[in-house]
Symmetry: D2
Subunit: 270 residues, 4 copies
């Protein structure tokens, strides 16, 4: 709350630091929107919006990969299913996507947040007496004793998730991975040693990278949801334009009938 | 609906063409997700998700600019206000952003859809007997007679919106603007001739460009909402981390207290 | 908007006529809330809230029956399904029920609104030259020619819906049925004569009764949604307390395992 | 999960115990819906839906009073404000009410749940060595030391809430108040003795009564939300039918302009 002089009277106003609006002028975190429009990608602007600073080139590229990694996962996730269910009753797009977002919680889409919590807690325990490997060993031991799943590990379908590998290799290429990536890899080793050979999933990789990027824990799931909203719109659009209303939607009973095995053309590989 | 042989029985399955999920393999519209992660931006992947094809470089860049243009507009839009209102009661992020999306409708965020409708209808009327200028004149005349606002024109704050100018100049640079851009400009001329000197707003510019990009009318507002979701998260985050719960939120009574007048550094201008 | 003197300044304020709040005093439509608490039922208070007047005893009883008739319809309606889908991901109750409400639209729960529209339009066409039966015949003929379903008729499961019969008999008992009930019955006769022997469904019955009760068309679906919200909470509660998270919910694959064939005890029948 | 013989195959089905649907037959918790429609009120049916049993007459009447007590509280609560904000952008009713529900959380509408938690915890601590008064004293002491507010006490407007008084007097009349009512009253005494003379608010009264009625803790806020949904519809309807779209809604800047001081007529008092 600040007090400002208005006429001859002090008035109290609440503060925002995100966007400044003046006639014919829109400034996002202090930058002219039209300058952002020619110099940044949408993803880089999201980073600016959240942190107030421009991302390094490598950070921007890693964030593109993070968003793309979570953009869609077919028709079975509950968020896609809730979106299609709403569309099938005649819902407008915003309501259908809202129903999808309301189905993103602890058990679906919540793993990034929960894994960030575990990793941050682990990093806080590292000391001169107990290094990364030592902390990981102890926490994995405790989790196994308590029969608790560790968020960020395991996937109902993918044993060797191509997204995880790619994210870690990009992070290495851009010199971004740090303590949190080291920690989650130590967790993986410790789990294997203790008889649980479970892969790091895409949420675990994202969780580690968001910590190493210095992004706030509170925004963990924002990254997943921003990534997935386009996917939900794609499902809403497909449901509305190709299916009859009020159909019985059994997510198990579908078949993929689209394009297969397309290669990215040369010019993009370069 | 397709029929597939399963065992010795024909079963019917419903089709999707968006994403194919196999163990350790995720294909978006036929492309390996890990290939997209290194070769595309998030924005380009959204285009792929919606259309099934990779965007030309210029198309991708224009779409970045479109998304950035609508990423946020401060605390006064109803979607930001509804999001903050929900957060203030203790709502989790997904619920707060859902409340924001539910406040994006005909009178806020709906102009792209409505303007696309007007422009597409106008383009359908163009014939050998009646060219773009003629159609624009007639439709503007009809609207003024019926005292109807034309979606895509006018703004409560900006008389000369920097976003509109930038979008049109980028479209020209990338060779994208076509019939719909021509039509909305003809509308502007016709309005001025008929005594209504009202500027094309950012929604009007986006509407024209989405038509010229061949994007489906139905997804018009998806572009606005995908762009704005990060803005809603930014407001939710700021509200939660800087304000007390259950405060009286008067959107008029705020002050911008963030950074001002920052220049994009050289390296990005190039 | 009214102008009120505040200090020595005229200020404009916006008006509400629903509830007046003063310290230690809550007045709903002019009545002390504590008086309503002892003299009205919840249902009667809803009527008061919407219309500003107390309902006659028969009106109150009919509305109880209307709300009860729509309180739940098992696990297959999309609203129950969306609610359960959200709960299964870990959604809090309000978010789960919101997802359910967002799945109540034209094709599920929208029939009351649509049927009221048809009936009101039909009643407006009645004149000295064309009576109720004549109007019904014409409109049914037009609908059949256009191959359009008439909202308020037919049900995917019930051919002879016990709720419809009960609502009409209660309306007769309380002397409430009027022109709209007459009209929907004329529609039924006309449909049968024209080869479509389709029953009036519960939505059709409610639509006719809401018109005859003088309730505004705009609130049509409010009655359905108010009635169904408790049902959605019941499903959310059952899902949360009896099922594992992130299960595959196939609504067709369920079985009713609760109480059966219980009689209302004597004292209530009287 | 049960296994049922279907053809010559055992299939597993998931169970529901709420509503049984057969052709021309709808059974709520084992009762024919048409029997409920003539013998129960809507409120009594909600109790049946949640508990599986018919309420005693007094229980039904107390629940009517509980629902009415929370049916509306004017335009300032965030749920009413979010609903009106959504309507003002052109939202359909279900979306507007969903936005309202999403604004019912810990700091608005969550007090019943939180107070039930405190009271149940307190009751669990009562033993031969420590009676109700002793437990209340200790817990109040702890809360004051920790500078924690006790849910169910205090109100920003009402120092002597007429709803609280009425609920306790009705509970006494119907012989319903029990251990939890005793406990919350002991809390009040202990708070006064320790220098905090804060009244029990309506949420505290409802929390105590729901415990004494044996209703599950998980449904605490369901009672508040079911009660408030009609209020949200009333605000949505008033906003849509009396205000211009996209107005600046400042909840402080309103005036009540409806009926005042109406007495319930004689016949209802009896």
């Amino acid at each position: 709350m600040v007090f400002k002089l208005r006429g001859n009277k002090m008035v109290d106003k609440w503060e925002t630091k995100i966007t400044q609006i003046k006639p014919n002028e829109i400034n996002i975190r202090g930058y002219r929107v039209e300058d952002l429009m020619t110099n940044l990608t949408f993803t880089e602007s999201i980073y600016l919006l959240f942190t107030g600073t421009l991302p390094e080139t490598g950070v921007g590229k890693l964030l593109e990969a993070i968003f793309i990694s979570s953009i869609d996962h077919g028709v079975t996730p509950p968020s896609a299913h809730a979106t299609r269910t709403a569309v099938s009753t005649g819902a407008p797009y915003n309501a259908a996507v809202a129903a999808g977002l309301l189905s993103i919680n602890d058990y679906h889409g919540g793993a990034i947040y929960n894994c960030m919590h575990i990793l941050q807690n682990a990093l806080d325990l590292v000391s001169e007496e107990n290094d990364v490997d030592g902390v990981a060993k102890e926490l994995v031991h405790d989790a196994i004793q308590a029969r608790k799943r560790i968020a960020g590990f395991g996937h109902r379908i993918h044993k060797c998730d191509p997204r995880t590998r790619k994210l870690f290799s990009l992070a290495e290429e851009y010199g971004i991975g740090g303590k949190a990536v080291e920690m989650i890899k130590a967790f993986k080793v410790a789990m294997k040693e203790q008889g649980k050979n479970i892969p790091i999933n895409v949420d675990g990789a994202i969780a580690a990278l968001l910590i190493d990027l210095g992004l706030p824990h509170d925004l963990a799931n924002a990254f997943f949801m921003i990534a997935r909203v386009p996917g939900l719109f794609a499902h809403a659009f497909e449901e509305k334009t190709t299916q009859k209303p009020m159909r019985h939607i059994d997510t198990k009973n579908h078949v993929y009938a689209g394009n297969e095995n397309i290669q990215i053309p040369e010019r993009r590989e370069g």
